[in-house]
């Protein structure tokens, strides 16, 4: 993980600031930095999104491929997550340096999406037990400035919203075998229902309080943080504690409540933005990576 050095006196300053609900950049304890979201940024994926949160930048691409359903759930497709840490983000990621963080992030994502409600996996089924859509969700970290989990989850939700899976027609031939035919029309596609896709909220315990969307400096002052994934209804799908420190049961409860509260408020503006972007259609001027 990209870390920064912070001196003792700076830590004291940050700590006292959070106690007074005024963080170094002027935010309160439950404020996010402003977020920029753009979808459809990579043309050779089925769905993609780029999210920048402060100086954190995350790119998510989703590729749909036809695969075999898992034997236990023959009527469902599945999602595969892979997180790649680019050495552009920090030189620490060079070579195999980012592998550990990447695995940790993708394992968390598997847990977050390990339920029936997040994504309607049945809609990914083509023919039971034989063919289904596999969504490969590839996350690329372009810049690290704290709060990777939240940025990644928002980018995934936006990319899933943007995903267009071609429609398939199954026709059986004379010998009883099935043949899959992909639609040629690029507009003839299936969209996913992303209403129940959760967003992750990371709460960092700093001193006696907790903050959301911690910067790297604030992260350096905190010993433990709680990761909660929350749907728009406030349902928690996954909860994890990261960091070496310990948390009081009482503060875990308090942080969960706060996480639910904050997480619920993330969904409405995100959906509104995605729909607004969608309504602009092809007229929208794309910003991409050089804007």
């Amino acid at each position: 993980m990209a870390t920064v050095q912070v001196s003792e006196a700076e830590k004291v300053y940050i700590l006292h600031g959070i106690r007074d609900d005024l963080r170094v950049d002027g935010r309160g304890c439950e404020d996010y930095r402003h977020m920029e979201i753009e979808t459809d940024v990579v043309s050779n994926t089925d769905g993609s999104a780029k999210v920048t949160l402060g100086h954190t930048a995350v790119l998510v691409g989703i590729k749909a491929e036809i695969g075999k359903p898992r034997p236990m759930v023959p009527k469902e497709g599945y999602l595969e997550f892979f997180v790649d840490c680019s050495a552009n983000a920090t030189p620490e990621f060079e070579g195999r340096g980012g592998e550990e963080l990447g695995t940790e992030l993708s394992n968390t994502l598997y847990k977050v999406f390990n339920n029936k409600k997040s994504v309607d996996l049945r809609s990914l089924c083509i023919s039971a037990g034989e063919h289904c859509w596999v969504l490969y969700v590839d996350v690329l970290l372009l810049q690290c400035d704290g709060n990777l989990y939240d940025a990644i989850s928002i980018a995934i939700k936006a990319a899933l919203f943007n995903t267009k899976i071609p429609r398939v027609h199954i026709s059986s031939d004379d010998e009883g075998g099935k043949e899959i035919e992909l639609s040629d029309d690029p507009y003839d596609c299936m969209r996913l229902n992303v209403e129940n896709v959760p967003c992750i909220v990371t709460l960092c315990k700093v001193g006696h309080r907790y903050v959301v969307d911690a910067t790297l400096q604030e992260k350096a002052c905190s010993v433990a943080s709680l990761i909660i994934s929350v749907t728009h209804k406030g349902t928690v799908t996954c909860m994890r504690k990261v960091g070496g420190g310990s948390l009081d049961p009482e503060s875990v409860y308090e942080m969960t409540e706060a996480g639910k509260r904050v997480g619920k408020t993330l969904h409405a503006p995100l959906m509104k933005l995605l729909q607004e972007e969608e309504s602009l259609g092809t007229k929208r001027q794309k910003v991409g990576f050089l804007g």
Binding site: E8, A9, Y13, L22, G26, G28, E36, L266
Partner: protein, 293 residues
């Protein structure tokens, strides 16, 4: 609490000076500086088909027959006398290594600091053993460049009461090209906070100190909570600095102060939003122009 989400917008350059665009001494890589063969090739240039060509984006400088291009986006190239803000990365024998945004870590020799107990104190072997008590890894210091080694590494000194260990405050890391060279880089701003504009692009914001204890030699740091009012001023200044840097405005006391004044109508946390940033930088530039002419 609500998160502010938006579509990215294409960044526009906010500049009231059009002349910046047709300046002849600004080049990009590949630009031919001169096809006259009478000149000597300096840093940031190469010869391509007998034409002197720029290899970096920046400003052309000519000293007699020597042509150099000074890059705009660069690490810090220190010169003797520069004020810097740096972070201790290592404690070694008789020296500290300091991160100063240069290509190589700078050194601060034990013999180049003022130890508690007056200027004329002899440095004993004991001092060498207790170096970590004065400055440890992660600590921030302000210092001056004493000399430059042949490989470009800097040797620092803190032999003045204005330099030394930094206490509570906020560090902002910017590009060294944005810092305007001035007589003094220490300012007590009238808005209620102090600023050190390090030539290396590190800017330190801290509450204006009261009476200083001279005996401590600058190694004593107060851990008393900073008042909320001071905090707000510091946070506002921090965001103003980032706004100015995002729009490539030169940083010195006047520009920072004008930016602070233009930002007062906005909440501190809103300053970093692109449209607010644009607005206050525009206002700042207007004020700076008025002041100049």
């Amino acid at each position: 609490m609500a998160a502010d989400m938006r579509l990215p917008s294409i960044r526009k350059a906010v500049s009231l000076l059009d002349s910046a665009f047709d300046r002849k001494d600004l080049v990009v890589p590949g630009d031919v500086i001169t096809s006259d063969t009478g000149f000597m090739r300096g840093h940031g240039t190469y010869v391509d088909e007998e034409k002197l060509t720029a290899s970096v984006a920046g400003e052309v400088q000519r000293v007699d027959k020597l042509i150099c291009v000074r890059p705009l986006k660069t690490r810090f190239n220190g010169e003797v006398g520069d004020v810097i803000v740096g972070r201790i990365t290592e404690v070694q024998q008789k020296r500290w290594k300091v991160e100063t945004n240069s290509r190589l870590d700078s050194v601060l020799l034990l013999s180049a600091v003022n130890l508690p107990g007056g200027e004329l104190r002899r440095r004993s072997a004991e001092d060498e053993l207790t170096m970590r008590e004065y400055l440890q890894e992660g600590d921030l210091i302000s210092a001056e460049v004493q000399s430059v080694f042949s490989d470009g590494a800097l040797s620092l000194h803190t032999r003045s009461l204005k330099y030394g260990k930094l206490g509570q405050g906020v560090l902002v890391q910017l590009s060294p090209s944005l810092i305007k060279r001035q007589k003094t880089h220490f300012h007590n701003l009238p808005c209620g906070a102090s600023i050190i504009l390090g030539n290396n692009g590190f800017v330190w914001l801290y509450p204006t100190p009261g009476q200083q204890d001279e005996e401590a030699g600058g190694f004593y740091t107060s851990l008393e909570p900073v008042s909320l009012a001071d905090r707000e001023v510091i946070s506002r200044l921090r965001n103003c600095l980032l706004a100015l840097a995002a729009h490539k405005v030169l940083l010195y006391d006047t520009s920072v102060l004008y930016c602070y004044e233009s930002s007062v109508q906005h909440q501190v946390k809103d300053i970093l939003k692109p449209e607010v940033m644009e607005e206050i930088v525009m206002l700042t530039q207007q004020k700076l122009l008025e002041q100049e002419g």
